[in-house]
Symmetry: C2
């Protein structure tokens, strides 16, 4: 964590100084905003936290509810989400309070007494091998709390505007072309008069992001088709405090009994668990009657499935019966297929893809949608990029949603099988582990585009596949000899990262690295010089770091090119945290297959690897940024 | 982290439900209190956080300042303190924002150009080997903030009463025998009228703890002698933001130049550093004139010492010139040496021991004083123990203070030597590492007493020396298969821990462990039955845990004795976190030398090992607790 950079800070360093619209942020919704986010679920709150790092913009987040979410909804956090939390500064805190999924056990009918269940397999959860981030269970409400905290600590000081419902929008002309009609639903936290409920207001936005969930009205207002299965599946879900003789109460289990199926998920705090009780496919003419299933019926069903074990329910924290189909919208923005203009309205999360809860993906994919659109809006509205950048949102995220639906359909049909359909009881376990990269959130790979390079030079850094998220590795901070994760040093502040992995020469010697650094610092073709606004710090847009092959004691800081020791901020202080050395015990060059001739690895603000190039390919580096960034000088 | 135990919690689980005096805690100081803490430094704030776990008591913390500390004072956090923070719930957070000391470098005169310094040795900091806790640097103000947060989140909801100065006290008779005179110094945060400044009030306390620093008035009021060196040593200290060509700006360094000595300490946040510039011994007739040394003189001196390097100071966060001698008070409470009654007034921290800053001990030892007295006051005031328990405070802490002074005297004279007095330049480094256990805070060993057993059975658990702090090791939580540190599972909630390390038999088989568990649950001699107040949960006073030798898959929870699966809280919910298994890769039985026949390890609320006994020594266990705890039924 870096601070004191603009002068001595006495209080909590996680609270960044307010800036721009974060200074004296108005309590009331302004008549005009840059970005209007509709909905404060996982997608909307990630956006709040991200946009708060663009404090010169006015971003408001409206939410129909009168305050924070308190109960229920999703709880499965995949490792990619924990990685994302790390970038927003709260991974450690949320890990400390979450349930860590170490194991997944499988239960099926006892062949001798088929009405009884027995444990058929124990498997280590996929997260145990996949990287440094765990697979967690924690209440969606807490995830939203942490994003809210990140949003209010960042310079824009964004807090949701509770008690406002999105009604409709029109995309017109002008600087703030999206006319949005809102309606007051309730007292908001800031204390408006209850008498105003129902009052309507129109506000004008440059961009609108619909994060308004499965029944999205933003989606309706831009005429998207929500396509997919008509057949829906119903789930009884309950967060319960019980006493029980079921020995795996604190282990995630898939239970396939004669009497039905349960997905059992221990929850944070050591007592609570969530049980998803399969209520089966919903007939077409059911007309949501399944939602009337009483809690008692769900508990009874759970006890039938658990036989010979049982639960004695002491308290029900939350419960629900919900139906969900498999659907994706045809497009994630307001530009009809075939038309070519920059979009003004976007859809994220459940608003554009819905599916079952079984694979524990909903909240996770929704957050990644928000992470994808956030920095792009920031770049366009800050004048760094042309609006055409925004078309990459649908192009990148729609395929991910389609993949998710396909995975979920397969996984939930596997899970919903009757015991007699299962030949090998370990098959489910095998499938679960075999697909680990998908449910952990690390399989997404964006195709080449204006912001993703092509793979001619992938061989220089095999371990950083272009288009996939940057998989961190350990390095040593040359200035102080401390070991840290290179990827964790970056935060979700909207900046691009350029990692220069040095060739074999030591710091200061004539080398490809030294030439590259010189070029970056002085050439008119340098993206840093070309795309950093005049007057801004040299690392305002690009965070440029170097990793040497030597141990940190061999890196003589005085000889490291000045490119990697920028003097920034109002005091012009040297930044000591741009120069890294390989860790002998776990050399990043080995771990990520980086060429000993060096390489340049470009990473997007949302942590995806954008390009891999040789140190000598300065023209290509320059051209890559020129295709999506505007010249600033 | 365990929660949801008393019903579903939607918000931050670190905020415990208010209880007792924490519900509607009065803003105004009451006329009568159980415990009055004077001073909100490290000792006082630890006490605030500790006493907040005894919410049925009224504890108030008065502080002369009008609000939180903002700048300066100590910054070195030894591993034992981080371990303590872990027990108070904020180790991870403070580690994330602190500077981690990985290395310590030594600089001395260049033999060829003695007016220049060169690096003479690099050493890994002792904390790299000593355990799972790092050696940190972080502003004392932040340590106090975290304790303040812990105090207000705990059930007693304690916050300091700012703007009250301790004037004097008298120990009289009655239920609240300590009559304390206070004076209003300033507006407090709660908004009193400035006009009242100077107003005096007398309040009556059962106990008073003087945490009022080096110029303690509580010390004066109980007539303690503060004995030690008359000669004082002066230090210039500054927290500075600079640009510099000194390559070790981000590494802790001891610099012994011809021009003088600097102890250089990088600070949290990546830019700031603290420099202690040695201003030498203060002549007896100086009369504090040294304190007038201007900042410029200190900076000039620093640049002379650093030559050929230099610092260009951009901002000074804090600076001070201070003198300190080596002193310890003759006693740490109000009972004159030779008299035998239970004390009513205690001294902690700088109020009873002062010394140089060089070894970075002041804040750390002060906190351990607070940790030692806190639970004892809680136990006595809760009726669990007789007041004679309180005499162990002076008995235990005074020898620690004496050790500290001796160590500090040696260390600071080593550090203050002139270069020509130094034969082997690595000698300082060798001393520093050789003494690691002391400065890391792990050397303290309390002598046998009513709360520390004798060592007849130490051989059953060599790795848990009686009288030393419980050195944690990893285990597996049998309920969910997650690996964790056994010691970190305990929090600073005022309870005793009894760890039953099982003999080799599996759970449920006839064994010494099974017999012991049965005895603990049913025998009239059982400390749990005897010393737990009627109506309280069975784990209210003793937190009893078991560690099996088998892997967690072999621990059948249904067969584990009920002693280790208590049903507690208003819902009578099973606690799943009392049963542990050995971790195959790092077996606690091996790591801590625990007998395969099992052992009982008793740990005090302040984390010190109180006793090691065989599973069969039930009489001894019973007798141990009976010597300092009262029968409750
Ligand atoms: C009742 C329920 C139970 C669920 N259970 C599970 C589960 O057990 N497991 C699982 O994996 N997933 C579950 N989900 C799905 C999971 O919560 C979603 O995938 C995830 O929350 C999607 O995030 P989001 O940000 O896209 O939308 P949401 O979290 O749905 O957030 C949408 C937000 O927009 C607000 N909003 C909606 N319309 C408007 C409007 N017109 N104006 C203003 N605000 C509006 C809503 O109040 C809400 O706060 C559940 C969802 C629901 C609703
Ligand atoms: C100016 C200064 C600089 C220091 N610099 C260093 C350093 O660089 N390195 C280092 O290791 N140690 C340093 N120390 C020492 C270190 O801070 C102490 O060892 C440590 O703070 C001791 O903790 P404590 O809780 O015993 O007392 P303190 O932290 O001194 O706290 C005492 C508290 O009591 C309050 N108080 C005092 N008298 C009264 C009264 N009559 N009524 C009410 N409240 C009262 C004070 O305002 C203060 O908040 C410094 C101390 C001071 C004062």
């Amino acid at each position: 964590m870096q601070f004191h950079h603009h002068g001595y800070v006495s209080g909590d360093p996680r609270v960044l100084p307010a800036a721009g619209t974060g200074i004296d942020r108005p309590v009331e919704l302004p008549a005009e905003v840059d970005v209007l986010v509709v909905g404060s679920g996982p997608a909307g709150m990630l956006l709040a936290a991200q946009m708060s790092h663009f404090p010169h913009l006015t971003t408001r987040v409206i939410e129909r509810r009168s305050g924070r979410l308190t109960h229920g909804q999703a709880d499965g956090i995949q490792p990619r989400s924990v990685e994302t939390f790390q970038a927003f500064g709260f991974a450690e805190e949320i890990i400390a309070e979450a349930y860590n999924i170490g194991w997944m056990n499988f239960w099926g009918p006892d062949p001798d007494n088929p009405q009884d269940i027995i444990r058929t397999a124990r498997t280590a959860d996929y997260a145990q091998d996949i990287g440094e981030f765990p697979h967690l269970i924690v209440n969606q409400a807490r995830v939203l709390d942490y994003f809210a905290q990140a949003a209010v600590r960042a310079p824009g000081r964004i807090t949701p505007d509770y008690g406002w419902e999105f009604v409709d929008l029109q995309v017109t002309e002008g600087e703030h072309p999206v006319q949005v009609t809102l309606r007051r639903t309730a007292d908001d936290a800031a204390g408006s008069d209850a008498a105003v409920t129902g009052e309507e207001r129109v506000i004008a936005a440059k961009y609108v992001v619909g994060c308004d969930g499965a029944r999205s009205r933003v989606r309706d207002s831009i005429g998207c088709a929500h396509v997919g299965d008509i057949a829906k599946h119903a789930w009884g879900v309950m967060d319960v405090l019980v006493n029980t003789d079921f020995p795996d109460w604190r282990i995630k289990c898939a239970i396939n009994a004669e009497a039905g199926n349960i997905l059992h998920i221990p929850r944070e705090g050591g007592y609570l668990a969530r049980m998803y009780i399969d209520l089966g496919a919903v007939p077409e003419d059911d007309n949501h009657r399944v939602r009337q299933t009483p809690l008692e019926a769900v508990v009874t069903k759970a006890n039938e499935i658990l036989h010979p074990y049982s639960i004695d329910v002491k308290e029900v924290g939350w419960h629900s019966v919900y139906e969900v189909g498999h659907r994706v919208t045809d497009r994630f923005d307001d530009v009809p297929v075939g038309e070519h203009r920059a979009p003004r309205v976007f859809l994220t999360g459940d608003a554009c893809h819905t599916h079952s809860a079984k694979a524990g993906q909903g909240m996770n994919v929704s957050m990644q949608d928000g992470f994808n659109i956030g920095w792009k809006l920031g770049a366009v509205l800050s004048g760094l990029s042309d609006a055409s950048l925004l078309s990459t949102y649908t192009a990148e995220r729609r395929p991910v949603a389609q993949q998710l639906i396909d995975f979920d359909r397969e996984w939930s049909s596997l899970m919903a099988r009757k015991p007699e359909e299962i030949e090998d009881p370990t098959e489910l376990a095998t499938y679960y582990l075999g697909t680990a990269e998908f449910p952990s959130g690390f399989m997404t790979q964006y195709a080449p585009s204006m912001i993703v390079g092509t793979d001619e030079h992938q061989g220089l850094a095999e371990g950083f596949p272009i288009g996939k998220r940057f998989k961190s590795a350990q390095v040593v901070l040359a200035g102080d000899g401390n070991t840290l994760h290179l990827g964790h040093h970056a935060s979700a502040d909207g900046r691009w990262r350029i990692y220069a992995f040095a060739d074999a020469r030591a710091a200061g010697e004539a080398s490809a690295l030294t030439d590259w650094a010189q070029w970056l610092a002085t050439s008119p073709q340098s993206p840093v010089l070309r795309h950093t606004p005049a007057g801004a710090d040299m690392d305002a847009v690009f965070d440029v770091k170097v990793v040497y092959q030597q141990g940190f004691e061999q890196v003589e800081l005085a000889r490291v090119p000045g490119t990697f020791r920028p003097q920034t901020g109002p005091l012009g202080l040297t930044d000591w945290e741009k120069v890294f050395a390989a860790l002998p015990a776990s050399d990043i060059f080995e771990e990520r297959g980086i060429s000993r001739d060096g390489a340049v690895v470009v990473v997007r603000p949302d942590q995806y690897v954008a390009h891999v190039l040789p140190l000598t390919a300065t023209d290509e580096l320059s051209a890559f940024f020129a295709q999506h960034m505007l010249a600033q000088r």
